[in-house]
């Protein structure tokens, strides 16, 4: 047993039992971050803040939401929106944050791709990040079921149908997922459970893994420079703060993070109060009706690109393309054969690959919402083939990439 002495202060008392000084050093003041970074490095903190906003607003909504097919719609649109003090605020914060969190996730992902932050020991950061993306997608989809509006019902119908696997006709699997032949009470209750318990638990666990994965390889920097963190941190602690290539996580990095968070929150709350429509589809303000299919069924904007990869093909080919699109990003660290972990601008053909992928995914996103007719379905098909083609090309162009 460790030796304990009479504490001289509360801090000392805690220190003997929890080593709070050491923990503070490990997590904050001596957790070293490269100095050569830009505001894109604050996306992680923005995601944490947005997740907290989702969690807190979600807890308030949970106090009044009723997971029952007869009362769910009214508990949201009448009880929460009209009766509960500031219920409307929590709902709009929750709805807007659920949409904006994906914008930040995509910026965060493309930042990682651009700067090569998935290579040279950083593979687990990327993989845990992609697992988080899957968990957030599940969270978003399950949450979308809960207001039990027309789009909840029909999106639930369409997405669970995918599990039939086209010609495989795995209808039993679909029924097992739904707990019924069609989305009904069992369906709503289980998606409620997923949304408020299982998936949030998974997300919190994965966030821990994601942060843990950062410790050994450290955060990347703007030039992909390999930094000797021991050497540079010594320099910093010796007083040469300006000459050192690293900074403390707190308060140095944190101060910059919070500045970006501040600007982000201005944008976020502007959306919450004055421009929330994009995050709350009008169709979902009609109560679920299994006998009335909406004229257009489309997912929220952040799923549109993968939806559009499914759409232009026949059922079976479409499902395969869709499965490919869902899984392929996880393998990025292994499909990129070049040892260069530098920004895309210094990487030959990969530079074009990056911008082509970005534009292609935006094209898919736009076509995913438009009716699949005429020129839109042609563009959609080309963009879907382009997406697959780009991934096939990736190992080849990076294999022949010159050492930077």
């Amino acid at each position: 047993m460790a030796h304990f002495t009479k504490a001289t202060s509360i801090k000392d008392w805690l220190n003997q039992r929890l080593a709070i000084e050491k923990v503070e050093k490990v997590l904050a003041s001596e957790y070293w971050i490269p100095k050569n970074i830009n505001f894109l490095w604050a996306m992680g903190m923005i995601l944490v803040i947005t997740f907290v906003l989702l969690l807190v607003s979600g807890i308030f909504l949970l106090m009044y939401y009723q997971p029952n097919v007869d009362t769910a719609f009214d508990s949201v649109n009448y009880t929460i929106m009209r009766e509960v003090g500031f219920g409307w605020l929590w709902r709009h914060v929750h709805g807007v944050a659920a949409s904006v969190v994906f914008l930040i996730i995509y910026i965060h992902m493309f930042t990682g791709i651009y700067y090569g932050s998935y290579k040279k020991g950083r593979e687990m950061i990327w993989i845990s990040g992609m697992l988080l993306f899957i968990a957030f997608s599940t969270e978003a989809f399950s949450g979308y079921m809960l207001p039990w509006g027309q789009m909840s019902y029909w999106a639930g119908m369409v997405i669970t149908n995918l599990f039939a696997g086209g010609s495989l006709h795995a209808d039993g699997l679909v029924e097992w997922i739904r707990g019924d032949y069609v989305p009904a009470q069992a369906f709503l209750t289980r998606f409620f459970m997923l949304h408020v318990l299982l998936v949030p638990l998974a997300i919190i666990g994965l966030i821990g893994l994601h942060f843990g994965a950062l410790r050994i390889p450290h955060v990347n920097n703007q030039d992909g420079e390999e930094i000797d963190f021991d050497e540079e941190s010594k320099k910093y602690l010796a007083g040469d703060k300006a000459g050192s290539k690293v900074i403390r996580f707190a308060n140095d990095f944190m101060a910059k993070d919070m500045m970006v968070v501040g600007f982000y929150l201005v944008f976020f709350f502007y959306l919450v109060f004055y421009h929330y429509g994009f995050a709350m589809d009008p169709v979902n303000f009609d109560p679920a009706d299994g006998l009335k299919t909406p004229a257009h069924i489309y997912p929220e904007w952040y799923f549109l690109w993968s939806y559009e990869i499914l759409r232009p093909f026949s059922t079976d080919v479409g499902l395969m393309a869709f499965a490919f699109a869902q899984g392929i990003f996880v393998f990025l660290p292994f499909l990129d054969r070049s040892p260069n972990a530098v920004p895309a601008s210094r990487r030959g053909l990969f530079k074009y690959w990056f911008w082509a992928m970005l534009v292609d995914m935006i094209a898919l996103t736009a076509m995913g919402k438009l009716p699949p007719e005429g020129i839109f379905s042609t563009i959609g098909l080309v963009a879907a083939l382009g997406f697959i083609g780009l991934w096939i090309a990736l190992p080849i162009i990076t294999y022949f990439e010159k050492k930077a």
């Binding site: 605020l89 109060f273 904007w301």
Partner: protein, 313 residues
Amino acid sequence: MKELFILVVVTVFTLVTYYLVEPFAHANLHKHVESEAFAYADLAAVTKTGDANRGKELVMGAGACTGCHSINVAGVSAPMDAVSSAAAYGVNPPDLSNAGVVYDEKFLNALIKNPAHTLVVEHTFDADKGEMHPMIPFYGAGGDIDQEVADMVTYLQSIAVSQEELTPAMAFENACGRCHGVKYEKWTQIGTKGTFQHKRDELAFDIQVLDYKDSLKAYMGKLPPDLSMYIRSRGEHYISTFIENPQSYLEGTSMPRVGVSAQTAEKVIEYLEDSGDTKRHEREEVGKYVMIYIIIFALFALLWKKQVWRDLH
């Protein structure tokens, strides 16, 4: 500077994506109908100046309006209650107390002479096939029919409340409320559902609503939807242009062109906002303070960063 450039790149890609999935996509998904400012341009202009006294005589007498309609302000009650009326006609004929202010003048003049045509429901009520609209056209009382109709409309206008006194609820209940329920405002097709001391009284009321809805369903083909959340599911522009002429969105729908004036339409929209977007004023008020708070927060965060990073450069 480099950071500013990166911000511009991120912003441009974000805005392009936003533009494509929101304004651009919705313009392609939904039909756009321009408002005609409730002009009812297809109807003939009113050329006669009416006389309220002669109008009163016609409305109460030869016009035979009170055979079906009540005029509560003039002390004329309905021949039947709402449920029996709906059973007889399909829908309860409106009380005419405020018809003169709710509906457009030109529309009322045309309606009295030819209801099915003015309401744009000739596709469901084809007189040639013997399908008569329950409102019988006024064929004239022996004089100049246009003058007689103008007299009746002038009478209706003279007994109605003023435009300022017409509340959003009155506008809605008159123009829409005999077919559409609004659950969130406790509005049913036969009136506001109050609170009941005894369960059996409440059930009796509910049964009346059910009976009314059955007649209405048979009359319209389907039960007209509850409009509680329509301001969020359809939006102001859609609702306003839909009221002007339902056929412009849903060709062949049995919903008539209601014939409200532009001011009444605004009040109907306000009523729907009160139902489906109840906290809009509070949202704007709270929004202001949150924005001020968060801008101050951002400025302090900026100053803190500058202070911390002074030593780091």
